[in-house]
Symmetry: C2
Subunit: 186 residues, 2 copies
């Protein structure tokens, strides 16, 4: 094994579209890759943001956020949302996304992003450059076009993609490899 130094490499890393309102109710979406589900009961998701970001201040102010998962076909929008700050730009407008105000938490999401978690802030952990925010998942919502017959999201329809923190690229989701809690029984 070759040493690579203390690197933030992990595979796969998700593409999280963090939806927030600032103190004046201006909506914003920011792409983040440091996060994931962090508790089953209560259901919680974490996302880490730098203090310098506009979204950081918005989460601290509103104590709520949404996490949207874009599809492969939305890779340009997702990349754009990580390139500029919402402080100076209306990113929803520039990227052609429609603001939807959550009825459950004090945060917006985009109508065109087919999967979203609506979250209430329950914990903040200062780690250094990043602060880890823990959101309690109040509801998960999906566009009907990505549901299977059982009424749940289908990866083959959602086509989520991932971020490569080493070479900074995006990759799609590949073939089904096997059932969890099953293929290892042999």
């Amino acid at each position: 094994m070759q040493s690579l130094g203390a690197r933030t490499y992990l595979f796969p890393t998700p593409i999280l579209l963090v939806g927030t309102y600032d103190e004046d109710y201006k909506p914003n979406l920011m792409t983040a890759a440091w996060g994931g589900i962090c508790c089953s009961d209560p259901p919680c998701v974490s996302v880490s943001l730098r203090k310098a970001t506009y979204s950081y201040s918005a989460i601290v102010a509103r104590k709520a956020f949404t996490i949207g998962i874009p599809m492969e076909s939305q890779v340009r929008e997702a990349d754009y949302l990580g390139l500029v700050s919402g402080r100076n730009v209306d990113k929803f407008a520039v990227s052609g996304l429609t603001v939807v105000r959550s009825a459950l938490v004090d945060a917006p999401y985009a109508k065109e992003i087919p999967f979203v978690l609506e979250c209430e802030l329950v914990n903040s952990v200062e780690l250094g450059l990043h602060t880890l925010f823990v959101g309690k998942i109040i509801d998960a919502k999906a566009d009907e076009s990505i549901l299977t017959d059982d009424g749940r999201p289908d990866i083959a329809k959602l086509k989520p993609f991932s971020f490569d923190p080493v070479h900074q690229g995006y990759h799609g989701t590949g073939a089904f490899l096997g059932k969890a809690f099953s293929v290892g029984k042999q």
Copy 2:
């Protein structure tokens, strides 16, 4: 958008092989899916475990762990490592994996798993059923077979896979979709 309830759905979700020593230095590997990178400086990774797990007690005792990322071809081993508790079984032996003692942190990893992060515990957050552990990444290590010409890990060689928390299946990594911080500039 259709409401699905408060669900722990996120895409993609990683397959993290958590390596630990217990108080008697018995090595163990456990598969977890709730975690990810959570800070760039200092570089940190999080993983959430239930208190009932053998790995939970080991991390609390040793204040260190490793996070290995398996390849597609290791999907059976990865699934097995999430099916049984190391309290009663030597999971390294049963899965045919070789214990390597980290020279940097008080935890083991598997020689056959081609990518690993060696971590010191720096934070624990009680969230409910799960406790979120934050590990400071002391070193990332990769098998030479997965490196590109630039000496860094290549996703096309590592072939990492992901967990589908909805239908509980494993999926490979798909095609390259574009460069990050680039495709969204248009």
